[in-house]
Amino acid sequence: MINNDKHADLLQTAKQLRWQAGQNFHDQLMEDIYAEAARLADRSVTRPDEKPRFDLDRTIDQIVTHPRWGFLLMILLFTLVFWITISGANVPSGWLATLFLDMGHPWLKEMSALIGLPWWLDGVLIDGMYLATAWVISVMLPPMAIFFPLFTLLEDFGYLPRVAFNLDNIFKKSGAHGKQALSMMMGFGCNAAGVIATRIIDSPRERLIAIITNNFALCNGRWPTQILVASLFLGTLVPAYLAGFASAMAVVGVALLGVFLTFAISWGLSRTMLQGEVSTFSLELPPYRPPRVWQTIYTSLIDRTIFVLWRAIVFALPAGAVIWLAANGTIGGISIAEHMIAFLDPIGWFLGLNGIILVAYIVAIPANEIVIPTILMLIVLSTSMGDAGAGTGVMFELESGAETLSLLQNGGWTTLTAINLMIFSLIHNPCSTTIYTIYKETGSKKWTLVASLLPLALGFVVTFFVAQIWYLFAG
């Protein structure tokens, strides 16, 4: 086309003029822009005449980004958040359990008897779907309603970029991008969101590392599992007045293990499958802003707590039905669920877990949130502690943590089971939403597969070794 030729000669002219403009044209242009910006800013901004006063922001930064104290403060701060969450969630959890389980469930049973619902429909609806959902709400709502606002307050205050700043150096040494600290932070909320947040990383190599390792940031679907198991098993190992602190430390320990794994796996990937240069970037430490407490609490309740809870409920409803059907559908006189548990039990033993936990993790692939409710339902079923009149597979109604503990101990749980469940909860395949997000973001089946199976394999290896060492020393 003639038009095209014309443009080609325009580009030719431009090329020639570039020689005239000189080699450092780009730098010169930048300098001109900066000089202009400085001149304009200087003209319209009046700084206070007094000498630079005590600068609060800078003083805080000197402490929170201190090479040594910064890390200590970071760990202390997150421990404090978990401690508040753990010790604050117990009481409201008990209330909700009383309301939904002790009062709601018998009432619904009476209603269904009144209108003469067939036993199987009554079972699927009330003993399956209703109870699973009620469990999800009473186990998850209180810790989330405390944890998310606290986390969001830290975020609004401006603390997260400081965490990224502290971690940047380690990420660089692992061969990963410093901005991965930010996507990891998002992952502590939700891994699917964390995977999307890796878009801030420009280099595809470093982005893949960030995507694959995001799963090691403990997401909010897994926090409740950690918090519950830690406070039930590990909290009881120490005197009562230390229980809250010890469980908080255990949860922080698992979260830190996740951070450590993020570094270790990033390091491994950047030396094997994803070799390449580390890119540099500049990270701005934004000014501290007093968070607007009420608004933060409101939005984090709406945006995060209710959102996550809703997702959990949506998955808990069908899962409850499936569990009930598996518990009541029989093959050769034994229920399907018992077949699965019996089949997976030996594998579970090797991993320091048990068949029930493994079945729960298969049921919970769509949402990690329902792991604990599923485990409780399956234990009641397999240890035949269910209410005889209600059919098997009814979740036990638990009024207190002590009862949950005794139920789990009757199911053969030991401290090892608790520790390995916490480890496995951290290190296993991402939930299906995250897997789908990884596929959408990478557009590659291969990397989606790596991101899904690598953590699962690692989880098997780690729990296996912990279990074998435990068996060796503790018998």
Partner: protein, 275 residues
């Protein structure tokens, strides 16, 4: 008390007839039949998402860390009988280098041809923020500067002369504290004035010091102007070509830049037809 302070000294605008944010209707994600497109640009962490939320009524999560907005968010609002579609661009420090974020922001301002580009600026870090403002003003001459975080500036005892800044930049400057809803009404007014052509911007162009470069720019700009008489930013395109910007060269080769003129004339024709 801070709150009492604010009550004692009401903003002069509150008694002024311009103050009618009541005409704002937040439309959320409803962007049908828009009359104008507004782009929201700015450095990271200046409160773009807060402004976006205040205008659309959406609750795009805002966070105090750079890079919160990935990709771009869109929403709608209705003000003074016109419907606006607003696009929240990712926060960037410049439009010159080639990171993914900067590319999205630049491409939208250049090829998306928004009717108004709102540049959200951190009043406490004006110098660094003006770098981006100056760059945006090379691309478009329909812009409004939202001088945000004025509350922070007051806290640090900084005085920012928004009138002076507006004169220097050649575009409207609106002081704001979007977190507290302060200045939203004035921003709406400024957007609508620029969109409807009631305010004509004369944006500041970058002064080039080196005579050799100046001559090259002038020559190339003249050639561009001959070829694409309707191009609103031939000088900027010339600068990009001299900088060896492959994307812009490609846009010229493919005729995409040429199409920009046509789009411009089409929308002008549509405006004529409407009135």
């Amino acid at each position: 008390m801070k709150l009492d302070d604010q009550k004692q000294t009401p903003l002069p605008c509150e008694s002024c007839p311009v103050h009618h944010a009541g005409n704002l209707m937040k439309l959320g994600v409803d962007m049908t039949d828009w009359d104008f497109v507004v782009a929201l640009a700015g450095n990271p962490n200046t409160g773009k998402s807060t402004v976006f939320n205040a205008l659309t009524g959406l609750r795009q999560h805002t966070g105090n860390w750079p890079g919160k907005t990935v990709g771009r968010a869109e929403g709608g609002f209705d003000y003074d009988a016109h419907r606006y579609k607003i696009v929240d661009l990712p926060g960037t420090y410049s439009l010159l280098s080639t990171s993914y974020d900067e590319e999205i922001a630049r491409d939208f301002i250049l090829f998306g041809q928004p009717d108004v580009t709102v540049i959200v600026v951190d009043a406490t870090r004006l110098e660094r923020n003006l770098n981006l403002v100056l760059q945006v003003l090379q691309i478009t001459d329909r812009a409004v500067v939202a001088l945000n975080l004025m509350d922070e500036a007051r806290r640090h005892h900084l005085e920012v002369d928004d009138h002076r800044l507006a004169r220097d930049l050649g575009v409207p400057v609106v002081p704001m504290a979007a977190r507290h809803g302060e200045g939203i009404d004035l921003l709406l007014k400024a957007i609508s004035d620029v969109a409807n052509g009631r305010t004509v911007c004369r944006p500041r162009r970058i002064q080039i010091e080196s005579p050799a470069v100046q001559q090259a720019v002038t020559q190339l700009e003249a050639e561009l102007h001959d070829r694409f008489p309707n191009l609103p930013n031939s000088r900027w395109v010339a600068l990009r070509l001299l900088d060896g910007d492959v994307q812009i060269a490609e846009a010229i080769r493919s005729g995409e830049l040429g199409n920009l003129n046509r789009a411009e004339t089409v929308s002008q024709a549509a405006e004529v037809a409407q009135s």
